[in-house]
């Protein structure tokens, strides 16, 4: 109740000189407005920058099969054949921090169209999710291939801009067929240009096809040649050169036949699984979830090392967090400066107000106000002034960011934290800069104060 009355007295005192109160608090209004506007615009830009960096693959995780030992000879990373497309599906299903996962099969082949040919920088087989992982959702032309194409081992592909330029020149590639290892692939879409990656290699020099097609029609021999179970033959069979011409896919071979004429076995292993984490901070969590899941799926004994490795873009993530940090620090400095300037304005006017109202202070003391009553009164006045300024400033700041958004189309993001902080900070500024004048008022001698002209 007492607090309410003090608040009322403060409001009444401020109402006695509305114009001056408005001008006094203008510093705070502008300060808070600047903070809010900067926060919202800055927050928006930060999100945009984060999104850009995310597009570059900062949230991506790559899972490679682990080492395999062949008679004491280590194959190095990628040697084991235990990573399967099923792992990718399970990761997407069971790891909440993961938004997309796609298996990847690598291949190497010459791409031929009419009289032009080109060795693509990368030729990969995957699922449509790969485009989500790489943030490559939009197509320059045509459409991506579908899950159905993956199931059907369809001979379709999407190509990067570089391939389009090199093989098709001025033609539209969609609907045309290119040849890879004597297999005809229909081009269904052209990817948007992505440019070089951080290492400088051209990301548009790519052909993407269903992983089943690449694995079983293009690179079957290539992939299984590193395998553990096939024994290498010294003679090059036509079937190895032209895999599409391979006879039955599932040869019914007896044990002796198998020993006599070894056939490549259809392995469903993949070279890599790419995964996209939900956000930067969740990358670590995603790694843990994936590790736990794959250990279980691969029946890895708790005491044994994993038969796979998960890699993240540590450097990129660090870059991103430092960008965000820089932005926030910058905003905080601007905020601090403007609020201090506003606070000095408040202090200045409160000092004038105390001097001007010396007789009032004297009178209040004469009728029984203690020093602390006076202190509280002037402090409340300063805080109320600052908080009103804070509220106006929040409104003004939000209006500014709205204007920026609608007129300049900059991205902005509402920051509840900034609003709460601005309010709290303006109240704090009121207390800090209102204290000295209020203290000065409370220390006045009533006799002198009453006689003050």
């Amino acid at each position: 109740m007492r607090a309410l009355r003090i608040f009322k007295i403060a409001l009444r005192a401020l109402r006695r000189n509305v114009m001056r109160a408005m001008l006094t608090t203008l510093g705070i209004v502008i300060g808070v407005a600047a903070v809010i506007a900067m926060m919202e615009i800055g927050h928006g830009s930060t999100l945009a920058i984060q999104h850009t960096i995310a597009t570059m693959g900062a949230y991506n995780l790559m899972i490679f099969p682990g080492n395999a030992m062949l008679a004491g000879i280590s194959t190095g990373t990628g040697g084991s054949m235990r990573l399967s497309p099923g792992d990718a599906d399970a990761i997407l299903l069971d790891c909440p921090s993961v938004t997309a996962a796609a298996p990847v099969v690598w291949a190497r082949a010459q791409a031929v169209y009419n009289n032009l040919n080109w060795q693509p920088g990368s030729l990969i087989g995957t699922t449509p999710s790969y485009l989500d992982v790489r943030d490559w959702g939009q197509m320059a032309e045509g459409n991506p291939f579908t899950e159905r194409d993956v199931r059907n081992t369809s001979k379709v592909c999407v190509i990067g801009k570089t391939i389009e330029k090199m093989l098709f020149q001025d033609e539209s590639p969609v609907g045309k067929e290119i040849r890879l290892m004597n297999v005809n692939f229909k081009v269904v879409g052209v990817l948007k240009a992505k440019g070089a990656n951080m290492m400088g290699s051209d990301q548009d020099d790519i052909i993407i096809a269903p992983w089943t097609t690449i694995k079983y029609r293009v690179s079957g021999a290539y992939s299984s040649s590193t395998g553990v179970t096939t024994t290498t033959t010294t003679t090059i069979l036509p079937s190895q050169v032209y895999p599409a011409a391979q006879a039955p896919l599932y040869p019914a071979a007896s044990a002796s036949q198998q020993a006599d004429t070894p056939q490549p076995v259809r392995f469903a292993n993949v070279n890599e699984i790419v995964v996209s984490a939900r956000s930067g901070p969740e990358v670590k969590q995603a790694i843990d979830e994936i590790t736990a899941l794959l250990r279980e799926r691969h029946h890895v004994h708790p005491n044994m090392p994993e038969d796979f490795t998960v890699r993240d873009m540590t450097e990129m993530v660090r870059t991103m967090s430092s960008t965000t940090e820089l932005m926030t620090t910058l905003l905080l400095i601007v905020a601090a400066i403007s609020l201090v300037v506003g606070g000095v304005g408040i202090m200045n006017i409160m000092l004038v107000s105390v001097t001007e109202r010396t007789r009032e202070i004297g009178l209040r003391m004469a009728v029984g106000a203690h020093g602390k009553d006076i202190l509280r009164q002037f402090l409340t006045e300063a805080v109320v002034l600052c908080m009103l300024g804070g509220i106006l400033g929040i409104g003004l700041g939000r209006a500014t960011s709205w204007l920026v958004r609608t007129i300049k189309h900059w991205p902005t993001a509402t920051s509840i934290g900034a609003i709460v902080a601005a309010f709290a900070v303006s109240a704090t500024v009121g207390i800090i800069f209102g204290f000295y004048p209020a203290w000065k008022a409370s220390r006045l001698d009533p006799i002198d104060a009453l006689r003050y002209e």
Binding site: M1, E360, H370, D373
Partner: protein
């Protein structure tokens, strides 16, 4: 019965190297229900004595008993509480809060009382006081909308709101014309006679002092003579 008693009150101001003794041992008593004029030329120590009487200041030495309380050793906050409870002030320049209604001006001292008074009760009591001083129809006027006499009446209402034991009026008619002065002084006499309120009128004008029943005259920091103006010889 004595309401206040001064015993050998001395007050010395230290002005740099020099000590200035303004009160040189004042001894006086004022009984309950008296209307006393405190007179003296400027520089006689009259204002200093009034500040001590009003508990605004402390004597350098001596004792000051007010309504059973010894004031000379009271702390700043204790004196503030005593002022709130026991003393009403009326000033020469009214000292009303500008741009504040008469009602709020009158109820202001209640804010600083030891017990919390509800908002409605504050308004009620202030309204009653304003009616008592004849300003029942001016309750929501601001000081700038009131004449000098009306302003002083608001000030009197304010001084009475806490039902003080002692009313200290410092040149209450100094800023008023003679007709209004007469009205205000009459109001003091009525308050004194009808309610038995103890009033000390601080003045330098004999016409004002004539309204009092007794006058204390200050000269060079001492009481020069105590002349009973009315009633029996002391």
């Amino acid at each position: 019965m004595e309401l206040l008693e001064l015993r050998q009150i001395r007050k010395t101001y230290h002005l740099g190297e020099m000590d200035l003794e303004v009160l040189k041992g004042v001894t006086a008593t004022v009984s309950k229900g008296e209307l006393v004029a405190l007179m003296g030329a400027s520089g006689s120590g009259k204002s200093t004595l009034m500040n001590i009487l009003g508990c605004l200041d402390r004597p350098s030495s001596g004792e000051y008993w007010l309504d059973g309380n010894e004031i000379s050793l009271a702390s700043v906050d204790e004196r503030a509480t005593l002022r709130n409870r026991l003393i009403g002030f009326v000033f020469q320049s009214f000292n009303l809060l500008a741009r504040t209604s008469a009602l709020d001006n009158v109820s202001m001292p209640l804010t600083y009382g030891p017990v919390h008074v509800h908002e409605d009760e504050m308004q009620e009591r202030a309204a009653a006081m304003l009616k008592k001083v004849g300003l029942g129809d001016r309750m929501h006027h601001h000081p700038s909308q009131l004449s000098g006499g009306q302003q002083q009446r608001v000030a009197i209402a304010r001084s009475l709101i806490n039902r003080p034991r002692l009313l200290l009026a410092d040149e209450p008619t100094g800023n008023l014309d003679s007709r209004t002065s007469e009205e205000i002084l009459q109001m003091f006499r009525d308050l004194n006679e009808e309610e038995g309120l103890t009033i000390i009128l601080v003045t330098h004008a004999q016409e004002v002092a004539d309204h009092a029943k007794r006058s204390i005259r200050m000269k060079d920091g001492l009481i020069a003579n105590e002349a009973e103006l009315k009633g029996a010889h002391k």
